[in-house]
């Protein structure tokens, strides 16, 4: 339990991870990463069910995002894992051990709150040291060790020299770094972050994302974070669990979730998509003059077409192409976002490479589009 400074233990960290840490300061010590299993957990609040029989496996050492709109139950799930709330049914296991009703203090969990939740009357160093200071005498490191640990964590979150400040003297981003350091100080077996960057501006959010990635690589601790920002989830996480209305719709790597959405909700929530309602018959989705392949579905359906899969027809009136009127074009780096209106009045967004977009006629002219791929889901 006692921590030995100057002996950074990197056991359990892959070679790749060790390389990515590069010049970063010595990481905190590691324990074998923890696996979390959530089994058919149910939780409801007075007005509405927050989680309906949710199951989730978190692999040891992975960085998993809980992604969903507000009210989807993602924060509730995180709080159940942390021991800040308790489920009505189901179980939560850490490495197979049932911790469903264990108190937060017993779980070895580091929790980072959206609003930082720092102790305002303490200095930054006292905040970080808190989790060590409150330990039982036998488990408590000596003051010198605690001090060294605080210094090391301040370095890890790049706040060296600010240990004497009060939280009120720090910016939002700095406060969240302190909260992160404080959570890491107790050498948690799981790090849980509830919308950690939600209250920060875009620039700070970007840099803290990289920071979290780096710290995760350096510590190797199993990490879950809650977000409603799909960019954040896709950029940061090893795997993403998409939640909607108290259920997990899909768990997968960012590319799996994006390329092969498991439900209409995931297709619409993760990444951009044009949405068309129609019906499937004989393996073909029809909506107005739109046709898309759709295997294994019959009846009412909804199709999602990603803007980058829309193509310009090789020639006007080509087989299977759709007539449209070109609308606004917005050049955005190497890509150009375009809007068009189909002959039946529906709007379509699509993305072309800058070079292709240069060949487009001015807005208001006729163009021909082809949809060769879409995600089609039956409507219940």
């Amino acid at each position: 339990m006692a921590y030995e400074p100057g002996v950074p233990t990197l056991a359990g960290v892959s070679e790749e991870r060790r390389l990515t840490t590069g010049q970063s300061p010595p990481p905190p010590p590691l324990r074998a990463p923890l696996a979390i299993r959530v089994e058919e957990v149910r939780k409801s609040f007075a007005r509405y069910p927050a989680l309906n029989d949710v199951s989730l496996d978190v692999r040891p050492g992975e960085l998993l995002a809980l992604l969903g709109p507000s009210g989807s139950g993602k924060t509730t799930l995180l709080r159940l894992i942390a021991g800040l709330d308790f489920p009505e049914a189901g179980a939560i296991r850490f490495d197979g051990v049932d911790v469903t009703f264990a108190a937060a203090a017993q779980r070895g969990v580091g929790f980072v709150f959206q609003q930082y939740a720092l102790f305002r009357h303490m200095t930054v160093a006292q905040n970080i040291s808190f989790g060590l200071d409150v330990r039982k005498r036998l488990l408590r490191p000596t003051p010198a060790v605690r001090k060294a640990r605080v210094e090391e964590l301040l370095k890890l979150v790049e706040l060296d020299g600010l240990g004497g400040r009060r939280p009120a003297q720090l910016s939002g981003g700095q406060r969240q770094r302190v909260a992160l350091a404080r959570a890491l100080a107790v050498e948690p077996r799981v790090l849980l972050l509830d919308e950690p960057f939600g209250a920060l501006d875009a620039t700070v959010r970007k840099s803290l994302r990289r920071e979290l990635r780096r710290i995760h690589a350096a510590t190797g601790v199993t990490t879950l974070f809650v977000t409603h920002d799909q960019d954040e989830a896709l950029e940061l996480a090893d795997r993403v669990a998409v939640l909607n209305k108290g259920r997990i719709e899909q768990v997968g790597t960012p590319s799996e979730v994006y390329v092969a959405p498991a439900s209409a909700f995931v297709a619409g929530f993760v990444g951009e998509a044009n949405r068309f309602e129609g019906a499937v018959a004989d393996g073909l989705f029809r909506s107005g003059s739109i046709r898309l392949p759709a295997a294994g579905i019959e009846g009412r359906a909804v199709a999602f077409v990603r803007p980058h899969t829309v193509r310009l027809a090789p020639e006007p009136g080509a087989a299977g192409s759709l007539a449209a009127t070109l609308g606004r074009q917005v050049a955005n780096g190497p890509l150009t976002r375009c809007e068009a209106r189909l002959a039946d009045g529906r709007d379509v967004e699509f993305v072309l490479s800058h070079a292709t977009a240069e060949g487009l006629p001015p807005a208001g002219n006729a163009i021909w589009l082809t949809f060769d791929h879409g995600h089609v889901f039956a409507v219940p």
Binding site: A82, G83, A104, A105, G110, F111, F113, F119, V134, R166
Partner: protein
């Protein structure tokens, strides 16, 4: 620099987005003078009209010194009791939902509204030698007549709402996530209370304590019915002042009042300075 030029000749005046400093400060100072400062100055003037020897003889007579110590001592003890009881009451009112909470909430304010004489008579009836509680307690050898005990009970009754009402809003605003953070870092419930909750409450808590103490020092009505008012034993300063007034010895009454005023002011100043220091160290 432009501001400095515009305000030349009025260096104390800063440009501010908050309007009406001159007007509000003027009204405040006028009313404060009429209601507080001038009457207090009159007390001082009256008291100091005595020659130094007779001032010392009147204001520091053995009887008067006993009264000061009794008043300050009982007010202090009652304020400490109130600080503990008050925080507990506020905690229950803020954190718990139970039938009758609203009723309890209103009951807390009752000592504010009740004429203090009514409170004194009820307490005397209850705790007096023949009272419902006083009689059995007297048989057990505990009495509240003619000693400081009765005074402390009266002052506790009078001062409780001050602590409850100052602590309550702070407790309500105390974010739950701070306590959750403490728990998730491994702190026990008691450690969270002592290390996280109490320091956040401290400024309001001290204010409530100071208010309850100040009220206790000046309290008259509720105390005289229960205290027995024996000189050298259970005679509080406000009563001594009243006795001097009844004998038309206004100068003596003012002299005693002046000493009491000075002592209370000094104590409140210490408490408030300590509190300001604490607040600075939290928010700076």
């Amino acid at each position: 620099m432009a501001t400095a030029t515009a305000d030349r000749g009025r260096p104390w005046r800063r440009r501010s987005a908050v309007p009406g400093l001159g007007l509000t400060l003027g009204v405040t100072v006028s009313i404060l003078s009429l209601v507080v400062l001038i009457p207090l100055a009159a007390v001082a003037a009256r008291g100091l009209s005595l020659s130094p020897e007779s001032f010392a003889r009147v204001a520091f007579s053995q009887r008067a010194v006993h009264a000061y110590l009794l008043s300050l001592g009982t007010a202090l003890i009652a304020a400490v009791i109130n600080a503990l009881l008050g925080v507990l009451t506020a905690w229950v009112l803020v954190r718990n939902r139970f039938p009758g909470r609203r009723l309890l909430d209103s009951l807390v304010d009752l000592p504010f509204a009740l004429p203090t004489a009514v409170a004194g008579i009820s307490l005397a009836t209850l705790y007096g030698p023949n009272g419902w509680l006083g009689a059995p307690l007297a048989r057990a050898g505990i009495t509240f007549a003619n000693n400081a005990g009765g005074i402390i009970i009266a002052l506790t009754f009078i001062g409780l709402p001050f602590v409850v009402r100052t602590v309550e809003p702070v407790l309500r605003d105390l974010a739950a996530d701070v306590e959750e953070a403490s728990a998730s870092l491994g702190a026990t419930r008691l450690q969270t209370l002592i290390r996280v909750v109490a320091p956040s409450l401290a400024p309001a808590w001290i204010t409530g304590f100071a208010l309850a103490f100040a009220r206790g020092v000046g309290e008259y009505g509720s105390v005289i019915f229960i205290a027995g008012n024996m000189p050298y034993r259970s005679e509080i300063t406000p009563l001594l002042i009243t006795i001097e007034l009844e004998q038309f010895d206004y100068a003596a009454a003012s002299a005693i009042a002046l000493v009491m005023l000075g002592l209370s002011f000094a104590l409140l100043l210490i408490v408030n300075t300590g509190q300001a220091w604490m607040r600075r160290s939290t928010e700076a």
